[in-house]
């Protein structure tokens, strides 16, 4: 999945293309790496966590029915934890994107739109 940098320096049209130039820049590579190294593992995490929950509910209902406090059982707590994890991931991502993605992305955008590539 990882994108290799365009090889050719020979093709003058491509070099002149600001998109390709921006794309092959170190800044952009860093931006892409930052984004992917956050969202891919996070996606893998929340999907596994979600499907673990779905599979437990489908195939281990006795475990999910174990009571913890009063009428509140493991299944209900697991379900509520899905809400908690979703809210937490959302907050984490926003903080991450605001701090680590937006500044560098903004710089690249300005350079592309300003024609300095």
């Amino acid at each position: 999945m990882s994108t290799t940098e365009p090889v050719g320096g020979a093709d003058t049209a491509r070099v002149a293309d600001p998109w390709v130039a921006a794309h092959s820049s170190a800044e952009f590579a860093a931006l892409r790496k930052r984004l992917r190294s956050f969202v891919f593992p996070m996606t893998a995490f929340f999907l596994s966590w979600y499907f673990a929950y779905v599979l437990l509910a489908a195939f281990a209902p006795q475990f999910m029915a174990t009571r913890v406090v009063g009428n509140v059982n493991v299944g209900l707590i697991f379900g509520l934890l899905q809400f908690v994890s979703t809210f937490a991931i959302t907050t984490l991502y926003v903080r991450f994107a605001d701090r680590n993605l937006d500044p560098i992305g903004g710089q690249i955008r300005e350079r592309v739109e300003g024609g300095s590539w």
Partner: protein, 956 residues
């Protein structure tokens, strides 16, 4: 209140209409005020990109919290318990896919539609066409579901009955929707969504606080009460009630889980909302707001669902029996908590929800047609934006009319099924392509076409072949059977298949020309927002990009059509230009490329056809093998029983659900049916005709009619050897009180025993020597020697004994005493009353369990069955069964009890192990009694007002 409910409506229909009308008026004003600003394409499709993230987040949650999910999830939790909660978790977690992988990149790359993004670096026409087809399919199924749902909701709230009236409601919804869309465009519908969504969340929050407050903020207490009220008991708090039946249903649940979590980020009407904000950062804020609002709302609906089960009079049983079935849970709870006003408010919000969601769907579908198909495929992008908007408006009108017609046709169809279909198709056809386009450099046009058409065809085909469409009584076509795919939800197969097809097709085909440069451009745009569509106002204020960019980008984007128009400065031309690749060629520029395009088109057509065929064949192969695999893994040994009958999404191998057999004409007023001990005949007492009708159970035909001259026959009791039948007689004038002794060999009356006062259902002791007769009006039981036909004792019991039954060992007799709400336990040796057991209101009939120390009693006015432990003489379970249960019988093996509900014209089946109602079977008019054959294969129900016997096939 019961009076109102008896008519089927909740609250006062007139008040409801008033509140509805007020809401509609308010939304129309909003739409009208928003209208004067809707002029351009970006206005119409994307509200000028002028909404803020929070505004759009509220609107998007309004789109998402459709009536199906608002009423449906709360209702599922109320009736099926925990399994309803699972839906909301899938619906919520799905937003992380949108947040992390899709929303911002999509906003940066596209203009108005999903097709914009997908066609960015691909060959435009075939990809746009594919995106439009998939958008139209998904949106149309979603529209149908909402339209059909509107009919059902209004039926509940306004007491609108009958197909014509409901069709009228659908038409009104359609007309309002067209007005919203045509007048208000995206801006108008967004404002409607914002208002509605805010009210919905406030209303749900109020109900939650109120419900929790009535339990002193004790969640456990609320859950406990919900479990106590549910026929399923504690199981409503645990997973598995709806999906735990067998391996197939469990696999089906996992499949549904996939569709839910991956479908959201592929729903076109959700994706399109990301274009209504000015930037990717606002798109991110949109999703964040949406996640918080939707998450909080689903937490509310968890409480609302369980609170409806705990607080609504009659509990889950009544909710499930209302016109809107489980969808009525939230409105009923609103009525219970806040009376008419809160009910009116919640209902009007639900109605506004439907209007707003259908309007959003219509905009999406019309945009996809006008922008992707008409402007870019048919007109090759030569259309000016004004014309395009005009086409979009005409399309909206056509879609509105189609949706009304389709909605009327879909009335009474399974709404949940249509929504699940939309999610499954979105997850299969759209999401793989979106993700590949955004993240995989090598991905090409061939891959898009294979993945989209493959996902579309396989998901639709699997649904057509699923048990939701045919092969069982709850299917769309119950009388046909082509359900060779065992799962109701296709996502488990179709989503991986779409990913695989996209991958293989890409790997085995040539890369698109200039793909590398176009991908570079797309990725830079996607990640940084460079060159992204700007908001209208902000764009004209902002500095236009330098000309060098537009000139340069031309070379980057010289794809199939051989040329692109010079990119206009964003400030002036944002509407018409978009980014170079996705808008079009001018007429002149495209000329040289025409020939190449034609051959390309032929080639693409071949690819599409092959993709469709291969996807179809693969799907069929997978279907058959899947069917084999799941068929060999038989249902779990300890089968959890099937749920209530009205399970919308519930199809599967059926256990514990008797099938309706034939109906036998059985005289004018068959009021009681009894099975001969050998099981060969059933005898039916016909009161007004004063005859006993005999039916042969092998052929289910009447073989004899025995006149009873002494008076109207009411109840029948066989001696254990079957040779003698005791017939209770009394008349309305209270002049006849007797027992006729009938010889079953000759079918003649051999003796008549006079009784003091209205003999109800008698019983012969296990040894055959004594007959116990409950005397209704004297609160006593006569004990008669069957050898001499003379009274040997009188036992006084609590008032109005109706029914008597002996324990298995014969040492006890039990009487159900109607007016005192008591069961008397009689020692058959000493003839003394040993105990009286309090049961529900008006115990009518009683039956002893064939092998466990249990007695079942049905309580006529309480609508319940009480189960008495005969060791402790205490009630151990109370099961709501239906209205006015009049008779009860056990299956010979004791696994199930069958209860006849005179007031709801049904037989309820109760699992003896779990004390849950596993099925409710419709009968004829006013069923009064039931008798089960000794072999347990069939049961006979007497329908006193339709003059028939209903035969139930108990082995399914």
């Amino acid at each position: 209140m019961t009076g109102l409910l008896a008519q089927g409506a909740v609250g006062k229909p007139l008040l409801n209409v008033g509140v509805f009308a007020f809401f509609v008026l308010v939304t129309l004003v909003i739409v009208y005020r928003a209208a004067h600003r809707t002029k351009t394409a970006a206005d119409y499709y994307a509200a000028g990109r002028s909404f803020t993230g929070p505004q759009n987040g509220v609107a998007i949650s309004g789109d998402y919290l459709s009536a199906a999910s608002f009423l449906g999830i709360a209702g599922s939790i109320a009736v099926y318990g925990y399994d309803g909660f699972l839906y909301s978790i899938g619906f919520l977690v799905a937003w992380l896919v949108a947040l992390l992988l899709v929303a911002e990149l999509l906003r940066n790359t596209g203009k108005f539609t999903m097709g914009d993004v997908l066609s960015f670096r691909m060959r435009r026409k075939p990809v746009r066409a594919a995106a439009a087809v998939s958008t139209l399919v998904v949106s149309f199924f979603y529209l149908l579901a909402q339209m059909a749902g509107a009919g059902g909701l209004v039926a509940l709230l306004l007491n609108v009955k009958g197909t014509v009236a409901q069709a009228l409601v659908v038409a009104v919804v359609g007309i309002l929707m067209i007005i919203y869309v045509l007048v208000g465009g995206m801006r108008g519908t967004t404002w409607v969504q914002i208002v509605k969504s805010t009210l919905l969340i406030i209303g749900a929050g109020m109900m939650t606080a109120w419900a929790l407050g009535s339990f002193g903020l004790n969640l456990s207490g609320l859950l406990g009460q919900a479990a106590a009220n549910s026929p399923h008991g504690q199981a409503v708090l645990e997973p598995g009630l709806q999906y735990g039946k067998s391996v197939t249903t469990k696999v089906d649940f996992v499949s549904l889980g996939i569709a839910l979590v991956l479908g959201t980020a592929g729903l076109p009407h959700i994706l399109m909302r990301f274009y209504t904000v000015p930037s990717a950062k606002e798109a991110r804020r949109t999703v964040v707001w949406a996640i918080w609002l939707i998450g909080i709302f689903y937490l509310f609906s968890l409480i609302i669902g369980y609170a409806a089960a705990a607080l609504v009079d009659g509990g889950p049983q009544r909710i499930a029996s209302m016109p809107g079935q489980e969808n009525s849970a939230a409105p009923l709870l609103a009525y219970q908590l806040g009376g008419e006003l809160l009910l009116g408010f919640i209902s009007a919000v639900a109605f506004a929800t439907i209007l707003a969601v259908v309007a959003g769907l219509t905009i999406t579908a019309s945009a996809s047609f006008a922008h992707d198909v008409y402007a870019n495929v048919i007109k090759h992008g030569t259309l000016d934006p004004d014309r395009e908007v005009r086409v979009a408006r005409i399309t909206a009108l056509v879609i509105g009319v189609l949706a009304v017609l389709g909605g009327i046709a879909a009335l009474g169809q399974n709404v949940a099924f249509l929504v699940a279909l939309a999610f499954a198709v979105a997850a299969s056809a759209n999401l793989p392509t979106i993700l590949y386009s955004l993240f995989w450099k090598r991905f090409n046009t061939t891959g898009v076409l294979w993945s989209m058409y493959g996902g579309l065809v396989s998901s639709v085909l699997l649904i057509v072949l699923s048990p939701a469409v045919s092969g069982n009584s709850k299917a769309m076509f119950p009388h046909a059977d082509f359900a060779i795919f065992p799962l109701k939800n296709p996502a488990l197969i179709s989503v991986p298949l779409a990913f695989l097809l996209g991958y293989l097709a890409t790997v085995f085909s040539k890369a698109d020309p200039d793909d590398e440069t176009k991908f570079a451009q797309m990725e830079v745009r996607a990640l940084t927002g460079a060159g992204a569509e700007r908001p209208l106002a902000a764009a004209s204020a902002g500095p236009p990009p330098r000309a060098s960019l537009s000139t340069l980008s031309r070379s980057a984007a010289s794809g199939e059509t051989g040329g692109v128009p010079p990119k206009e400065p964003v400030g002036a031309g944002a509407l018409s230009s978009a980014f170079p690749t996705s808008t079009s060629t001018t007429g002149a520029a495209s000329q040289p490329a025409t020939a190449a395009t034609d051959t390309n088109d032929g080639f693409r057509r071949k690819i599409v056809i092959t993709a469709v065929v291969v996807a179809g064949v693969t799907t069929l192969a997978v279907t058959v093998s899947m069917n084999r695999v799941l068929a060999t893994s038989a249902p779990v040994a300890d089968t959890t029983p099937q749920l209530l009958p009205n399970t919308n999404a519930d199809v599967g191998p059926e256990v514990a659900i008797p099938a309706l057999g034939q109906t036998i004409q059985a005289g004018t007023t068959p009021n009681f049916v009894a099975v001969a001990p050998n099981g060969r005949q059933v005898y039916i007492a016909n009161r007004t005709a004063q005859v006993i009708t005999v039916v042969d159970t092998a052929i289910n035909q009447v073989t004899a009619t025995i006149p009873i001259t002494a008076g109207p026959p009411q109840f029948l009791a066989f001696a254990p050897d079957g040779r003698t039948l005791y017939v209770s007689l009394f008349n309305d004038q209270r002049t006849v009180h007797a027992i006729d002794v009938l010889d079953t060999a000759s079918n003649t009356v051999v003796a008549t025993i006079q009784q003091p006062a209205r003999p109800y259902l008698a019983a012969v002791s296990r040894d055959g020597h004594r007959l116990f007769i409950p005397n209704h009006d004297t609160a006593s039981v006569s004990v008669i020697s069957t050898d001499t036909n003379s009274v040997i004792a009188q036992i006084n019991v609590a008032p109005n004994p109706h029914w008597v039954a002996f324990s298995r060992d014969g040492t006890r007799a039990y009487t159900a005493n109607h007016e005192s709400n008591l069961v008397s336990v009689i020692d058959t040796t000493t003839l003394e009353v040993l105990a009286t057991v309090p049961v529900g209101a008006s115990p009518h009939s009683i039956a002893v369990h064939p092998n466990l120390p249990l007695v079942g009693v049905v309580n006529y006015d309480a609508g319940t069955m009480s189960v008495i432990d005969t060791i402790t003489n205490k009630v151990v379970a109370t099961v709501p069964v239906g209205k006015n249960p009049q008779d009860i019988a056990w299956a010979p093996d004791g696994r199930f009890a069958y209860v006849v509900n005179e007031g709801s014209n049904s037989v309820a089946v109760i699992d003896a192990r779990t004390n849950r109602v596993t099925a409710t079977i419709p009968t004829g008019n006013t069923p009064t009694s039931i008798a089960v054959l000794p072999n347990g294969r069939q049961a006979y129900v007497s329908n006193s007002k339709s003059g028939t016997l209903t035969v139930l096939d108990l082995t399914g």
